[in-house]
Amino acid sequence: MTLSTRHLLGIKDLTPQDISLLLQTAQQFKEVLQRPIKKVPSLRDITIVNLFFENSTRTRISFELAEKRLSADTINFTASGSSVSKGETLLDTVNNILSMKVDMVVMRHSASGAPHFLAKHIPAAIINAGDGINEHPTQALLDALSMTEKHGSLEGLKVAIIGDIMHSRVAQSNLYLLGKMGAEVTVCGPPTLIPKHLAEAFNVRVEYNLRKALEWCDVANVLRIQLERQNQVLFSTLREYNLSYGINRRLLDSLGKDITIMHPGPINRGVELDSDVADSGQSIILQQVENGVAVRMAALYLLSNRQQA
């Protein structure tokens, strides 16, 4: 059994079988990460370039660690301080790197569709580490793994995605994944941050009242307010956002049930999540980070098929 795709550009292109295979494989890699020697020789012959045209800490470190745990050779590229600032095109940059015999490309770019463009023009396998406001597939996969561990199955699980839905590639990848795996989804946030077509496009509920969304759900995946992607004022102040859509201990305690809190990071403490929620036992935010390495190992391993390359 193998993946139906050569690249991991988005959850949109995956079948439910692909998603299950990735999650099952990630679970085996989680066991590897518990061993005295947390490393396997599977990708010893593979060279991977991490192309980060946009800032990242968690995702870049997570991918790098995953590559090293698989014994791959890695090269890191960040846009600042490279020839990109001299005006080199994306395709030229990548082709120059590939001529140094690189097998796989992990790429983050601020332009939606940048990895899809590359996939059409280069022979290497590409993993999307976040493209603009389109998708962030490995984040959705690690969210799925974390939810599966906590709740057993995604089938019928009630997930609320809360916050800046419009600018969030994490939300989009999660919506594709949860839909394919049979979870029930409600999106919640200020009307200005939820695209109008969303309810029909993804067959999800839209709820503008935070308390109602939390009362309904088993899991709340709280998104970061993406200040850097907002070029217009979509809510008045961060303080007002916190009052209407911030999750605090008092609100959680008043629900009368224990819901699971997730966040893709980095957290704006005091905006979408208060510290007494983010650091509580209900939060699985750090487990998400741990699962990130295992999920990325699974993606790299399953896409490293040399015969097709």
Binding site: T25, Q28, F29, Y301, S304
Partner: protein
């Protein structure tokens, strides 16, 4: 198709192998049993049952998957199985268990995988079927259920159907 071992013979062989392991490991505090995923697990499960029956202190039992250590990964990506070794193998005598020993490549991978869990005092190999003269690596079993002669075009199949285990030699 030729039957090499029928159900009753397999049960007898497993009992003998269990006794041989106990004979060589009188102090079972130092011994651990590790089955190789996926096909070795049927045998190691049965063997561990027998060891529990004959010994008051049966060895700890774990399962090892060798997918990430395979030498044919450049040709094909295999889907991994679960590894579960909930104890330390440091300084222990490890008995590796698999159903059929053929080229020896699985055992080579298993030895590499094993070393990532610690440094055992000793590693031994127990197999149900040893396909003689077909090794591609210098690996030999310490405990053998049955040794057979076969040619490359033949396949040894071990069926673990409930109450009807059998080992058959199939011409392809």
């Amino acid at each position: 198709m030729k039957i090499i071992l029928d159900h009753q013979q397999i049960e007898l062989v497993i009992k003998r192998l269990a006794h041989q392991v106990l004979e060589n490991h009188s102090d079972s505090n130092d011994t651990v049993l590790i089955g190789i995923q996926p096909r070795g697990i049927f045998l190691s499960d049965r063997l561990h049952q027998e060891l529990c029956r004959y010994s008051a202190t049966p060895p700890p039992y774990g399962k090892l998957d060798i997918t990430f250590y395979r030498d044919d990964i450049r040709k094909q990506i295999h889907v991994p199985n679960h590894t579960d070794i909930p104890f330390s193998i440091e300084g222990k005598k490890v008995v590796l268990v698999d159903d059929v020993l053929y080229t020896g490549r699985t055992i080579r991978a298993a030895l590499d995988a094993l070393m990532d869990f610690g440094r055992p005092a000793k590693a031994e190999l127990l197999v149900l079927i040893d396909r003689r003269y077909s090794r591609q690596l210098p690996i030999q079993p310490d405990y053998t259920g049955k040794t057979i002669d076969s040619i490359v075009s033949q396949q040894v199949k071990v069926n673990w159907n409930e109450g009807q285990h059998e080992v058959v030699l199939v011409d392809q």
